[in-house]
């Protein structure tokens, strides 16, 4: 995990001080709401249906146990005792008071957490594979590059007032767990013919009301050029992206209107004049960041320890969980464990303060104090010894995060929907809860195999419905909640948009959708 140095800590503290001043000026009326809105958004503060919402970044999905305890503290002290993990490796608190926001941010800052650029028309939290650093199929740890990008794009003076929000995701594995092709910039690390590692650069992916799969504009970008090339893309977008219509302001529209080739030429021309300047990455700059990523000093273990074999043979429930929620690790004797935040009948992605505290303790005990957050809205313990799996399972089961439904039909990705969000047209959470109840019989769910349902409460597509195997989109018809259903979408390396199945159906029929 990345450990902040004095520069990182100072910047976050200065940000809290600045935001406190901005909130004071808003409360005194010195700042109008119109002036305040972009400032609060760039600190992750939304005004929702019932209250202010605070969105905290979890860069590249990596959390320390101390940070998770801090999130639990914020849930308990400033909110209603729970938080909601999102599809972009963030966590949201839905009930925070504006006056208390600076204090909540100060508490978060002490643990190296912040809401910087989790919202607003700027570069958002950089996301990557939640298994980065431990996945057997990765070519290197993508988080080092995500952190280099994060730093470069934090409070960037040129790119803080872009035409629209801007999302970047990276993967360094053959299997893309970061959905990079539905991002404004998707970066895929791979090795070229000469044996060098670099990035395939894709632009203009995204969901929302005009979904696009990203197009490749640079098949191989050397690592030294990562920052300068991203800078060139952003500079092109900042100048030529549309600002006349909010629905046409994302980079995907610019890429679509110019055509990927012409866009690529614009970027190339810009890049040629900056690539050998101050942004070129030398080995020392990369090593400096890499040196602050902490890796566990694993004990030497063997795969398939006897304790595990015995428990697998004796306990069917444990076996079902291992089959479903435990993945291979790059180091022998270790495992990657996914914690399902999709309980039967519960809202997807929510965790209570007590669960967060308990998971932090379990991370200390079994996972070198480290937790990951994935875009599927589940948590991960990335460094578990296989021999500890039975004990860990019992502990996770006791706090309700061992439902063996990872990647099954009840592992639903959903946005907060009309229960919280001021943009939504329809509710998402009750639909998700109903589906999980219908498929609580895990044999039935398993018989369907890997199946992703994604639910969005409006066309903004925060639940990524276009890339769900089954996608459900809430719409409003004559003041009532209706849902459009798409099928055949997927988010990974072979990303595709789903096809509309037919006319929208009303909310009341949702219990019968399981017959689809």
């Amino acid at each position: 995990m990345y450990v902040y140095d004095d520069f990182d800590r100072t910047l976050v503290a200065e940000r809290v001080r600045e935001f406190r001043d901005q909130v004071d000026r808003r409360l005194s009326g010195e700042l109008t709401e119109d002036e305040f809105k972009p400032l609060r958004l760039m600190n992750g503060v939304y005004l929702q249906l019932h209250a202010y919402m605070l969105r905290i970044a979890i860069p590249y999905g990596t959390l320390s146990s101390e940070q998770l305890r801090t999130l639990a503290h914020v849930a308990r002290r400033y909110d209603k005792n729970y938080g909601h993990f999102t599809t972009r490796q963030n966590i949201q608190f839905n009930w925070i008071k504006l006056e208390e926001l600076p204090d909540a941010m100060a508490d978060l800052a002490r643990a190296g957490l912040h809401g910087m650029q989790t919202s607003g028309n700027c570069v958002r939290n950089i996301t990557t594979d939640q298994w980065a650093g431990v996945a057997p199929d990765e070519i290197e740890d993508a988080r080092i590059w995500a952190e280099l990008l994060r730093q470069h794009l934090t409070l960037h003076p040129e790119f803080s007032f872009l035409p629209r929000k801007f999302k970047i995701a990276l993967t360094a594995s053959a299997h893309d767990r970061a959905a990079v092709k539905v991002h404004d910039i998707g970066l895929r690390m791979h090795t070229n013919g000469a044996g060098e590692t670099g990035f395939e650069v894709m632009v203009g992916g995204g969901l929302g009301r005009t979904p696009f799969i990203a197009k490749t504009i640079k098949p191989f970008l050397p690592k030294r050029d990562l920052l300068s090339y991203v800078e060139a893309i952003l500079r092109t977008y900042n100048q030529y992206g549309r600002r006349d219509n909010i629905y046409k302001a994302r980079i995907k529209i610019l890429v679509h209107e110019l055509g990927a080739e012409k866009f690529a030429r614009e970027v190339e021309e810009e890049w040629q004049s900056i690539k050998d300047g101050a942004l070129a990455l030398d080995a020392s700059a990369v090593n400096d960041i890499a040196a602050r990523f902490r890796y566990p000093d694993y004990d030497e273990l063997l795969d398939g320890p006897p304790e595990l074999g015995k428990a697998l043979a004796e306990d069917k429930r444990f076996r079902a969980w291992v089959d479903n929620s435990v993945a291979n690790h790059k180091v022998a004797g270790r495992a990657i464990v996914t914690l399902s935040l999709k309980p039967v009948g519960g809202p997807p992605g929510d965790a209570t303060a007590e669960q967060m505290d308990a998971i932090a303790d379990l991370a200390d005990r079994y996972s070198y104090g480290e937790i990951r957050v994935g875009h599927e809205q589940n948590l991960v313990l990335p460094h578990v010894a296989q021999r500890d799996l039975p004990a860990l399972w019992r502990a996770l089961d006791a706090i309700g995060v061992a439902t063996p439904n990872v990647s099954l039909i009840s592992d639903i990705i959903a946005c907060p929907g009309l229960d919280y969000c001021s943009l939504a047209n329809a509710r998402s959470i009750p639909v998700a809860e109903e589906i999980t109840r219908r498929f609580k019989d895990l044999d039935l769910a398993r018989s369907l195999g890997r199946l992703h349902i994604n639910i969005s409460g409006c066309i903004n597509a925060c639940g990524h419905h276009h890339v769900g195997h089954i996608g459900i989109l809430g719409v409003e018809k004559n003041g009532e909640e209706y849902y459009q259903v798409t099928i055949g979408g997927r988010a990974g390396e072979d990303a595709e948009l789903g096809k509309l199945l037919g006319p929208a159906v009303p909310y009341a029929t949702s219990p019968t959708w399981s017959r689809i």
Partner: protein
């Protein structure tokens, strides 16, 4: 609106010439972009400094032929949320090496002053009087900057390089590197 230069409120010595109005002799003047392109030869020969107000939807490269004699370029923020002129400013300073006065005009508010200064602006038509008074404070809110620009503030990367590469962490420990 107050003009801030070098952290202080100053009087604007430039006269803003509108559209086709005559440009008075011997007075520093700012002309619209179309006027500059049409009358460049005459304007270049004026006895007093000439500046241009350049809209945020025109390419900065078009300005390049005039930069060696222009005393001032004013870039426009129609609202503070429209950030195109930040890119224009950096291109002027960093690519075209423009050393004249670079002025931010339009909706120029306290919470954007630091970004503006970092992008290369050195004079600011600050919209609110209270913001002009707080200029110095507003541009000193931060002491850490992750990205190198032409404003002279050292980036964290340079500062880290000067300090030397951080020592590798002892594997398995939870110490915070300082």
């Amino acid at each position: 609106m107050l003009l801030v230069k070098a952290g202080r409120v100053v009087e604007d010595r430039f006269l803003r010439v509108l559209d086709d109005a005559p440009v008075p002799d011997g007075v520093p003047a700012i002309v619209p972009a179309a006027r500059l392109l049409a009358d460049a030869r005459d304007l270049a020969l004026r006895a007093a400094p000439t500046g241009v107000i350049w809209p945020n939807d025109r390419r900065i490269a078009e300005l390049a032929p005039y930069l060696d004699w222009l005393a001032l370029v004013a870039l426009v923020f129609p609202t503070f949320k429209d950030g195109r002129a930040y890119s224009q400013a950096r291109l002027l300073r960093e690519r075209h090496e423009f050393r004249g006065e670079l002025r931010a005009t339009g909706q120029v508010l306290r919470d954007q002053l630091l970004f503006l200064q970092r992008a290369g602006f050195d004079t600011f038509e600050v919209t609110k009087e209270a913001d002009a008074a707080k200029f110095a404070e507003a541009v000193q809110r931060y002491s850490v900057f992750y990205q190198p620009t032409s404003d002279g503030r050292p980036s964290a990367r340079r500062a880290r390089a000067a300090r030397g590469v951080a020592p590798p962490l002892v594997p398995g420990t939870r110490e915070v590197v300082r």
